[in-house]
Symmetry: C2
Subunit: 340 residues, 2 copies
DNA sequence: GGATAAAATGCAATCGTTTGCAAATTTTTT
DNA sequence: AAAAAATTTGCAAACGATTGCATTTTATCC
């Protein structure tokens, strides 16, 4: 069927009896070329299964139409490869990027060299960078941003930075979850998560604010710093109960995975949910509603998040102004906090 | 700090006082170049944050060192963006590819044009293709394979095909789950999944075989064709119980997500697990052990799977012989089938 | 020290597209 | 019918790295 020798634009042009420049323009529907010529060449290309050599095109145009997406993992906690939320976001970014004519080069902070600007942009592997997660340190992000490459970060949008950050409204999320529990009578609500992340700190502020509005001051021992994994949550809750007894009646978690770990520990000790302890997750991963009891959680609109990130990145590519943006969060009330 | 003009190999060479050819060789540690020259140029490159232009390099060498990973989604069921197993595999592939010096271009069957060979390979966007999932039809895969591009598929390894397929031992998995339930006294075991996939058919054979060995013949009404989503499973179980009553005492599911949906339906109807119905999932996603009761499931070693896929792909890139390979599966017994 | 071998470096063509500009063709105008 | 304008097309120079081959430099040998 197909000819055995590699088909280049030059050969295609020869077949069509035109010059390569005409062929090139015809394929991108340049109105400079007469319409019938365009159509003829496009048809010929289709019938020969021709496609432009991307390497050559990129070299010539200095554009790759590729965006690097970096999962900014935290140390060695296996959060990322396991966390459905992050991977979901990757999926959404893939959609959003494709819709704008870009492809997605996947990487993560362990793999990529430390100098992202050089590795991805100056080497012409990609036109821009999307970072998922601020991590515990923004050193690499800052470094990349300083060299002026197009970059957008998913994280805490309130953080002041020389690059746009798209993120959920973490303060509001923390506030919503906490005040929901307090309004249902909880008196001692745990905040379960890692306080080193900017995002988590914001949520914690919301947690504090909710308490203040209820005329309460949260006990410092209720703020529990743990790794953002279900295993860590499971262990923490187990041990806390073992040593302190059940000294709390509500938990606000920084992710659904964390909530699930906590939930498991509580169930194993026959703690009633939500009767004894109400529990609120974060992210609304698909499993949240499948749990038993189903999990009350804070939903972040990942599709919107992905679209905003891509939009901000494209702004940078086009030298338009950019800004950090916030994705609204909503409280999804389910059985883990709701009595029948 | 950095010079403002783009640094090319030629300029770097000039700075070092050598020719571009020498610089090029030095950077790849070619022993043709005197050791001290090599080191000097490498140091210079590092200090100037130089990195080779990938587009130019790819054009010249005709190699991209990029592999396209295609999530071969099924119709419009949202299986993929939601299914943790598939995304986990993507993560593992990323690791495995990076370890071999390749990068990962993520795509899915909705996005990519239909002619994968042309779009990814002939256009020099990637050197090879990894497909996750055979889908309901292998048309696109066959088409790509026919044009001779390096390609490896995650699916049912027993399928005869002109390309290597890496997959779990689906027959064994189906057999293990079923006979586990039967050995614990189940008499009517449902098979919950989609029978149009080759993988699922193999598992169903294992299901049948397990019955045969126990001297049983499964009732055809126990083979339930549903979409591979938790929602579909939830609905199916709900409706079945509504119309038939509880006419089964075990369920073998084709994925953990399906199992979770079924579990939810059973719990809502206060069916005892495992006392009334035992349930077995597939994949051992991270949530399986967090469920309550924790979920008995069939584990597939995704890391090994990713490594095998990459190895087979590299074989093709190097014109070495390839073969389909099987990842062993193991039964992980948890509370959803185990009485205390 | 001169001839020969070995080691190190440089020349220049090449990969396949794109695009500014010039050239050729067609259409319009006078 | 010739000149001017508008429309189409083609020429040729980039883009930046790689590599076979030729050339220069250094080491070895008699």
């Amino acid at each position: 069927m197909a000819s055995d020798t590699k088909l280049t634009l030059a050969k295609l042009a020869e077949l069509a009896g035109v010059s390569t420049s005409t062929a090139s323009r015809a394929l991108k529907d340049n109105p400079l070329i007469k319409k019938e010529t365009r159509l003829k060449i496009q048809a010929l290309a289709k019938s020969h299964n021709f496609s432009i050599n991307a390497a050559a095109s990129r070299l010539r145009t200095q554009k790759t139409h590729v965006i690097a997406v970096i999962l900014n993992l935290i140390d060695n906690t296996e959060q990322s490869t396991t966390d459905p939320f992050l991977l979901k976001l990757v999926g959404e970014l893939n959609q959003a990027l494709n819709a704008k004519g870009y492809e997605l080069l996947l990487s993560n902070s362990f793999m990529a060299s430390d100098d992202w600007a050089n590795y991805f942009i100056h080497s012409q592997r990609a036109d821009g960078i999307l970072v998922i997660g601020q991590g515990k340190s923004t050193a690499k992000i800052d470094l990349a941003a300083k060299s002026g490459v197009p970059i957008v970060v998913w994280g805490d949008a309130k953080t002041q930075a020389p690059y746009p950050i798209v993120g959920g409204n973490n303060f509001q999320g923390g506030y919503q979850g906490t005040s929901h529990l307090l309004s249902r009578g909880a008196k001692r609500v745990l905040f379960l998560g890692d306080s080193e992340h900017a995002e988590m700190q914001e949520r914690h502020k919301g947690y504090t604010q909710a308490h203040a509005e209820a005329g309460l001051t949260p006990d410092p021992s209720c703020t529990c710093a743990i790794d953002i994994t279900s295993k860590a949550a499971y262990q923490y809750i187990n041990e806390r109960i073992k040593s302190n007894g059940l000294d709390f009646d509500g938990i606000v978690c920084v992710s659904d995975m964390v909530a699930l770990g906590a939930l498991k520990a509580l169930k194993e000790r026959y703690v009633g949910i939500p009767s004894d302890v109400g529990i609120v997750g974060y992210d609304d991963i698909s499993l949240a509603e499948l749990m038993h009891p189903s999990l009350t959680t804070i939903r972040q609109n990942t599709q919107q998040a992905a679209e905003l990130m891509v939009a901000q990145l494209i702004n940078q590519l086009e030298n338009k102004p950019t800004e950090s943006q916030v994705v609204e969060t909503s409280l999804i009330v389910r059985r883990s906090t709701k009595h029948d």
